[in-house]
Symmetry: C2
Subunit: 172 residues, 2 copies
Amino acid sequence: MRCTYFVAASLDGFIADSSGGVEFLKQVDSEGEDYGYQEFYSTVDALMMGAGTYRSLLKFGTWPYAGKPTYLLSNSVSDPLEGVIQTNEAPARLLSQIYGSGKQHVWLVGGGKLASTMLSQGLITEIVLSLVPVMLGTGIRLFSSREARITPVTLKNHRVYDSGLIQMHYHL
Amino acid sequence: MRCTYFVAASLDGFIADSSGGVEFLKQVDSEGEDYGYQEFYSTVDALMMGAGTYRSLLKFGTWPYAGKPTYLLSNSVSDPLEGVIQTNEAPARLLSQIYGSGKQHVWLVGGGKLASTMLSQGLITEIVLSLVPVMLGTGIRLFSSREARITPVTLKNHRVYDSGLIQMHYHL
């Protein structure tokens, strides 16, 4: 059972601009290169996200995760899309329930705040960070501040792409 | 003429804990491995830092940069060490003066805030980031928030060490 924070960030540590936009990813757009996304996505059984990420994703038009259950940790979204399960369970309990239902790999999508909560609670087992060669100046943090605690992580592998994107895979 | 932000950070983007401590660097302590520090330092003609970094460094005891001029951007330090030049010049003007005096390579040491100011003003020409495989939870940010502006950077090279530290060298 594993929960992966698979995410792209700018060199200065932002996953989106202040309004949730990911314009900066265009910087590394490259014909036929998905930076391992499909390979990763094919191993995912369920997704977890917060309301901010959900609302940002809606702006793209077509829901990108059709066919896989998405657990939306919120109680403020009215009429969520089909396949999106809104819940106000605590992340730890929800994750146990997801694992209990036979799903083995959960993708934590976006969400600096949710990511921080889940990190603090030891719920994230892997981080796959794609560091995009661009600075944003400000925006939504890859990691918001949590309580101070020095926690070693293990670099399992990494890959460098022609665009200058570096992808690092850590185990927690 | 170049100004390098040569810095180590935790995976969650902190260069020090909240009180300026760098305890987390012990994580990658390794006999005979200095992660390119001496090689880098030998190319440096002058250093720039803010008062926070200066005060943190004093706690280490011996001044680590004896023999190279250190420009301290502050007006609050009384009786700075020999070789430390306190100044309240603006960073841009100071840097021109340093370059004008024949010094070609300036190292911006520590200082999330000073780094942000200098980045915003286009004064930093290179970033050498050593990403340490550890999470801190909170502390002094590698980059504090600035005004929003998408700025591409170029990955020049990178190196991965046995300890799991990844060092990335960007040109701005």
